[in-house]
C-alpha cells in the first residue's frame, strides 16, 4: 500500500533529474517565502482587495507586466539551458527527452505566456488613458481575461514538476502529438493551458475593439487616434479572427487524445495536415498580433523623443490595416515543403512578401519622423532605435524565406530559427521593453533609472547579434532546428559556441534589467510632473499614476497630438478639472468572481490533463456558476461621489 502510493507519487511528480528536483525545491521555498511574507506583514487582505479582485485596467496592466517578466525569466532559463547543451558537440548536459521538453516549453512560454501578457500589459496600461476613457468597455471581462491567462500559465508551468512537460515542439504537430507517439500528460497540459488562456485572449480582443470603437473621448475621431491605439485595434481584429481557429485546433487534438477520436491520427482516416493548416491560420497572424502593438509603441516613442509629429500618419494607419488584412493570408508559407503544388506556393509566397511593403513604409516613416527632429537618446528611444536595423534584417530574411524555392533550403533549419528570433526579439521584445520604459512612470509613478538600464541595453543587443548571426550560417550549413546535439565532424562547433556566448550575454542583459528595477525601487525618484518625457498624447496630461477613475472630467479632443498641441499653446490647464464640472463618477465594483472563475478553469484543466473527467466536469460547473452569478448580479457598479473626486484631485494638486 505504502509502496503503491510512493509509486504513484513517483509518476505524478517529476523526479530523477537534478535540475527538476532543484526547481522543485526552489518552487516550494519561494512559495513558502511568499506565504510567510504575506502573513507576517498581514498583507493577505491587501492582496485580495487591491489586486486579486481588481477590475481596474491600470492594476491589471501591472499584473500582466509582472507575469510577463517572470515568464521571460522562465523562458530565458530554458533558452540558456538549450544553448549550454549545444555549446559543444555531443554534450551530455541534457538528455534528449529533457531537451525536447525544454525547447517545447521555451517556445510556448515565450510566445503565449510572455509576448501575449506583455502586449496586454501595454494595452491595459495605455489604451483607456490614450483615448480619454475611465476604463475599458468591459472591466469585469478584462479581469476574467487576466485570470484565465494567469491560470493557463500556471497550469502550463505546473507540467514541469507534476506529470511531465510537453515535448513535441510549440507547434505540436500530430501525429507525433497523438497518443500513439506521445502517451504522457505533457501534451494535455499544453492543449488545456493554451485553450484556457486562449479564451481570455479572445475576450481581450472583443474588449479592446469595443473600448476603442465606443469609448473614445468626444472629438477623438478615428483619424485623430494615437498610433498605438490604432495598432491595438488592428491587433484585436486579428485576435478576433484567428484565436478561435487555434481554439478549434487545440480542442480537436484534445478530443483525439482524451476520447479516442480520429481527427489527426495516422489511421482511421485522420488528417494530420488539417491541424497544421488550422494551427498556422492562427500561428502566422499571431506574429502580427505580437508585432503590431510593438509598431504602435515605436511610433509613440520615436515621435516623442524626436519632439516631432509622426511622419505620414495616414500611411501609418493604412499600413497597420494592410498588415491586419494581408497577415491573415500568409499561413501556408509555414509548409511550402508539403507539396501543395506550385500554384498554391506561389500565391502564398507573394502574399507573404506583400507584408514587407507596409512594414517597409513604416520603417521609412519612422526615419523621417526623426529627420529634422531633436533626438533624445533615453532608454525607450534606444530600444526603438536598436529595433530598426534588427527588424530590417528580420524583414529581409523574412522575404527570403517567403519565396518557396529558397524556403526549401531554409525551412526548419537554424536559418529559420535565427530569422524568427530576430523578428520576435528584435521586433516584439525590443518594442515591449521600449514600451515598458516609456510608460513605466505612468504605471508606477516613478522612473526607472538609466544607469543599469544602459548596461542591460548593451549586453542584450551585442548578445543578440552574437547569438543569432551565427545561427543563420549554421542553417545554411545544414544544421536542423530541434536537434539536441550534433556530431563533432560537421564544423558546426565554432559557430554554436559563439552563439552560446551570445545567449549568455543576453542573459546578463536580462539580469541588468532586474537589477535596474530593484535599484529604482530602492532609490525611488517619483514622477511628480505626470509628463516626464515631454509626451504628446492624453495619458501624459494625467498624474502618474492616474487616479482610479483616470479623468475627473472627460477631455474634449481637437487634435492628433492633443496634449502636445495644448502645451505648445500654453493651455496645459485646460486638462485640469474645474470643481463645478466634477460629478459623481460611475465605476464598476471590484469582484472576486473573475479570480474564482480562473481557478475553476484551472481545476477543470488539471482534471482533464490527467483524464479525471469528474474533476474536469466539476471545474466546468464552477465556471457556469460564476457566469450565472454575474448574470444575476443586479449591482455590479457603484458611484464615486463628486466630493470624493474633488478631494482626490485636490490632493493631487489639480484643483
Amino acid at each position: 500500500m505504502g509502496d503503491g502510493l510512493a509509486n504513484t507519487a513517483g509518476h505524478f511528480f517529476v523526479t530523477g533529474d537534478p535540475l527538476i528536483i532543484g526547481s522543485d525545491v526552489a518552487i516550494v521555498l519561494v512559495s513558502l517565502g511568499i506565504v510567510f511574507v504575506l502573513t507576517y506583514f498581514k498583507k493577505w487582505k491587501w492582496l485580495w482587495r487591491e489586486w486579486l479582485t481588481t477590475v481596474d485596467h491600470k492594476k491589471i496592466a501591472i499584473m500582466y507586466l509582472l507575469a510577463a517578466i517572470l515568464m521571460l525569466f522562465r523562458g530565458g532559463v530554458d533558452a540558456e539551458l538549450m544553448r549550454t547543451q549545444l555549446a559543444l558537440p555531443n554534450m551530455k548536459f541534457l538528455s534528449p527527452e529533457h531537451y525536447d521538453q525544454i525547447f517545447t516549453t521555451h517556445g510556448t512560454i515565450m510566445i503565449l505566456f510572455m509576448a501575449m501578457p506583455f502586449i496586454f500589459a501595454m494595452f491595459n496600461a495605455v489604451v483607456p488613458l490614450q483615448i480619454g476613457a475611465r476604463d475599458v468597455a468591459f472591466p469585469y471581462l478584462n479581469a476574467i481575461s487576466f485570470w484565465l491567462f494567469f491560470f493557463g500559465a500556471l497550469l502550463f508551468n505546473l507540467s514541469f514538476v507534476i506529470g511531465g512537460s510537453p515535448d513535441a515542439g510549440w507547434t505540436s504537430y500530430p501525429p507525433l502529438t497523438e497518443l500513439q507517439f506521445d502517451p504522457g500528460v505533457g501534451e494535455n497540459y499544453y492543449l488545456l493551458a493554451l485553450s484556457i488562456s486562449g479564451i481570455g485572449t479572445i475576450a481581450t480582443g472583443v474588449n479592446f475593439i469595443a473600448t476603442i470603437i465606443k469609448m473614445r473621448a468626444p472629438g477623438m475621431t478615428l483619424m485623430k487616434m494615437p498610433l498605438f491605439t490604432w495598432a491595438v485595434l488592428g491587433t484585436c481584429i486579428i485576435i478576433l479572427f484567428v484565436f478561435p481557429v487555434l481554439s478549434v485546433a487545440l480542442a480537436l487534438l484534445l478530443i483525439d487524445r482524451l476520447f479516442g477520436a480520429h481527427f489527426f491520427t495516422m489511421m482511421y482516416g485522420g488528417n494530420p495536415m488539417q491541424f497544421i493548416n488550422l494551427f498556422w491560420i492562427w500561428g502566422h497572424p499571431e506574429v502580427y498580433i505580437a508585432v503590431l502593438p510593438a509598431f504602435g509603441i515605436y511610433s509613440e516613442v520615436v515621435s516623442t523623443f524626436s519632439q516631432k509629429k509622426i511622419f505620414g500618419y495616414k500611411s501609418m494607419v493604412a499600413s497597420i490595416m494592410a498588415i491586419t488584412i494581408i497577415g491573415n493570408l500568409t499561413w501556408v508559407h509555414h509548409f511550402f515543403t508539403m507539396g501543395a503544388g506550385p500554384a498554391v506556393n506561389t500565391f502564398f509566397s507573394i502574399s507573404t512578401m506583400a507584408v514587407a511593403i507596409p512594414t517597409g513604409v513604416k520603417v521609412f516613416n519612422w526615419l523621417m519622423t526623426m529627420y529634422r527632429g531633436r533626438i533624445t537618446l533615453s532608454l525607450p528611444m534606444m530600444w526603438a532605435l536598436a529595433f530598426i536595423p534588427n527588424f530590417a534584417l528580420a524583414g529581409a530574411t523574412g522575404v527570403w524565406l517567403a519565396e518557396a524555392p529558397t524556403d526549401y533550403q531554409y525551412h526548419n533549419s537554424y536559418f529559420l530559427v535565427a530569422h524568427f528570433h530576430q523578428a520576435l526579439i528584435g521586433g516584439v521584445v525590443y518594442g515591449m521593453l521600449a514600451g515598458m520604459y516609456y510608460w513605466w512612470p505612468k504605471m508606477f509613478g516613478f522612473k526607472l533609472k538609466e544607469k543599469y538600464g544602459k548596461w542591460a541595453f548593451w549586453f542584450f543587443n551585442v548578445g543578440f547579434y552574437v547569438c543569432f548571426m551565427p545561427q543563420y550560417i549554421l542553417g545554411l550549413m545544414g544544421m536542423q532546428r530541434r536537434m539536441y546535439t550534433y556530431p563533432a565532424d560537421m564544423h558546426w562547433t565554432g559557430l554554436n559556441f559563439v552563439s552560446t556566448i551570445g545567449a549568455y550575454l543576453m542573459g546578463i542583459g536580462f539580469l541588468f534589467i532586474a537589477v535596474q528595477i530593484i535599484h529604482s525601487l530602492l532609490h525611488m525618484e517619483k514622477d511628480l510632473t505626470g509628463d516626464p518625457w515631454g509626451g504628446r498624447t492624453l495619458e501624459w496630461a494625467l498624474p502618474s499614476p492616474p487616479p482610479h477613475y483616470n479623468f475627473a472630467v472627460i477631455p474634449h479632443v481637437t487634435a492628433r497630438d492633443e496634449w502636445w498641441e495644448r502645451k505648445r499653446r500654453g493651455e496645459q490647464d485646460a486638462f485640469l478639472p474645474r470643481p463645478e464640472a466634477i460629478h459623481d463618477i460611475h465605476m464598476p465594483k471590484n469582484s472576486g468572481v473573475p479570480f474564482l472563475m480562473g481557478l475553476c478553469f484551472f481545476i477543470a484543466g488539471f482534471g482533464f490533463t490527467f483524464g479525471w473527467m469528474v474533476v474536469g466536469a466539476l471545474g466546468l460547473l464552477g465556471v457556469l456558476a460564476c457566469l450565472a452569478h454575474r448574470s444575476l448580479d443586479q449591482h455590479p457598479d457603484h458611484d464615486i461621489p463628486a466630493e470624493e473626486v474633488r478631494r482626490t484631485e485636490a490632493a493631487l494638486g489639480r484643483l
Partner: protein, 299 residues
C-alpha cells in the same frame, strides 16, 4: 573617453565574432552555397538575387538611421534644422510605397517561374531514377522500385540523371533534406509527395530529417552517394546479389521506434510503399493515389 573605450571593446568583440564566423564558415561546409546539382544551383541563384534586392532597401535604411541619429541628436549647440511639424511629403511616401512594391514584384515573378520549374524534372529528356523514401522513427528507408532493392540511412544515385524521390512517412511527419542537392520536402503519413533532385558531381552528400519526430530525431542523418552511372549499376548488382532479403517481418521491425546504422536489402515486400500510403489515409487523397498509380505503371 568612457564612451570611446566602450565602443572599442564592442568593436573588438564584433571583430572576434566576425573572424570566428569566417574561419568556421568559409569553404565547403556552407552546404547551401555549394550546390552539386541543377536544383540546388537554381535555388542558390534566387538566394543571390533576393539578397541583392533586399540589400537595396536595408543598407540605405541602416545608413540613414545612423546619419539621422547623429545629425539630429538633441545636444546643446546642434544647429541642424528642427521642424516639429514636418510630417508629410507625398513624393517621399510615394517613393517608399513604390520601391518595395517593385522589389516584391520582381521577386514574385522569379518565384513563380522557379516554383513551377522545381516541380518538374530538371532534365525532362532523360529517364529519371525513381526512389521511394519512407521516414520511420527514427531512420530513413529507401526503396528502388526499378532495381527492387532497398537501403536504410543511405542512398546511392547516378550522376547526371534526374532522380525523383517519392516521399511518405510511416510515423510522425518528417522532412527530407540534402542541402547540397536541393531543398527539402515533407514526408507525411498517408500522403506521397514528390521531390526532384539531381547530382552532377560525384560525391557523398549529407542529408538529415527536417521535421522533429521525437527523441531519436537528432540521429536521423543519412548519406546520399552520387557516382557515375556504371558505378551505380555495379553497386545495384552488388546489393541485389549480396545483401539479405527484407521480409515483411523485417519491415515491421524497422517500423518500430529506434535508431540504426546503414543497411542494404536485395529485395523488399512487393508494393509495401504504396500499401503503407494507402493504409494511412492515401486512399482518401486523389492526388496521391494518382501519383502512386502512375509510378506503379511505370515500374
Amino acid at each position: 573617453m568612457h564612451r570611446s573605450s566602450r565602443w572599442k571593446s564592442i568593436t573588438a568583440l564584433m571583430a572576434g565574432v566576425g573572424a570566428a564566423l569566417l574561419t568556421a564558415g568559409c569553404g565547403e561546409e556552407i552546404r547551401v552555397f555549394q550546390p552539386a546539382g541543377p536544383v540546388a544551383r537554381s535555388e542558390l541563384q534566387l538566394i543571390w538575387l533576393q539578397m541583392g534586392l533586399t540589400a537595396v532597401v536595408i543598407i540605405p535604411v541602416i545608413l540613414l538611421l545612423a546619419w539621422i541619429v547623429i545629425r539630429y541628436r538633441n545636444k546643446p549647440g546642434n544647429r541642424a534644422v528642427y521642424q516639429p511639424d514636418f510630417a508629410e511629403s507625398r513624393t517621399l511616401e510615394f517613393i517608399w510605397w513604390a520601391i518595395p512594391i517593385v522589389i516584391v514584384g520582381i521577386l514574385g515573378g522569379v518565384t513563380l517561374h522557379k516554383t513551377y520549374a522545381l516541380a518538374q524534372s530538371p532534365q525532362p529528356d532523360k529517364t529519371p531514377l525513381k526512389i521511394e523514401v519512407m521516414s520511420l522513427n527514427w531512420k530513413w528507408l529507401f526503396f528502388y522500385p526499378d532495381q527492387k532493392i532497398a537501403t536504410v540511412n543511405y542512398a546511392e544515385i547516378p550522376t547526371d540523371r534526374p532522380v525523383q524521390f517519392v516521399l511518405t512517412a510511416n510515423g510522425p511527419m518528417n522532412a527530407f533534406w540534402v542541402p547540397n542537392l536541393g531543398g527539402m520536402q515533407y514526408t507525411m503519413p498517408g500522403m506521397a509527395t514528390s521531390l526532384w533532385l539531381q547530382a552532377d558531381q560525384a560525391g557523398e552528400y549529407y542529408g538529415h530529417g527536417g521535421n522533429f519526430t521525437g527523441p531519436g530525431f537528432t540521429q536521423m542523418q543519412f548519406r546520399v552517394v552520387a557516382k557515375p552511372e556504371s558505378d551505380f549499376e555495379a553497386w545495384v548488382r552488388q546489393v541485389a546479389n549480396g545483401a539479405p532479403d527484407m521480409s515483411r517481418g523485417e519491415y515491421d521491425k524497422l517500423v518500430q521506434p529506434g535508431t540504426l546504422g546503414e543497411l542494404s536489402f536485395s529485395s523488399y515486400p512487393d508494393g509495401i510503399f504504396e500499401q503503407t500510403v494507402m493504409d494511412e489515409g492515401g486512399k482518401y487523397m486523389e492526388h496521391d493515389r494518382k501519383m502512386l498509380e502512375n509510378m506503379m505503371s511505370h515500374s
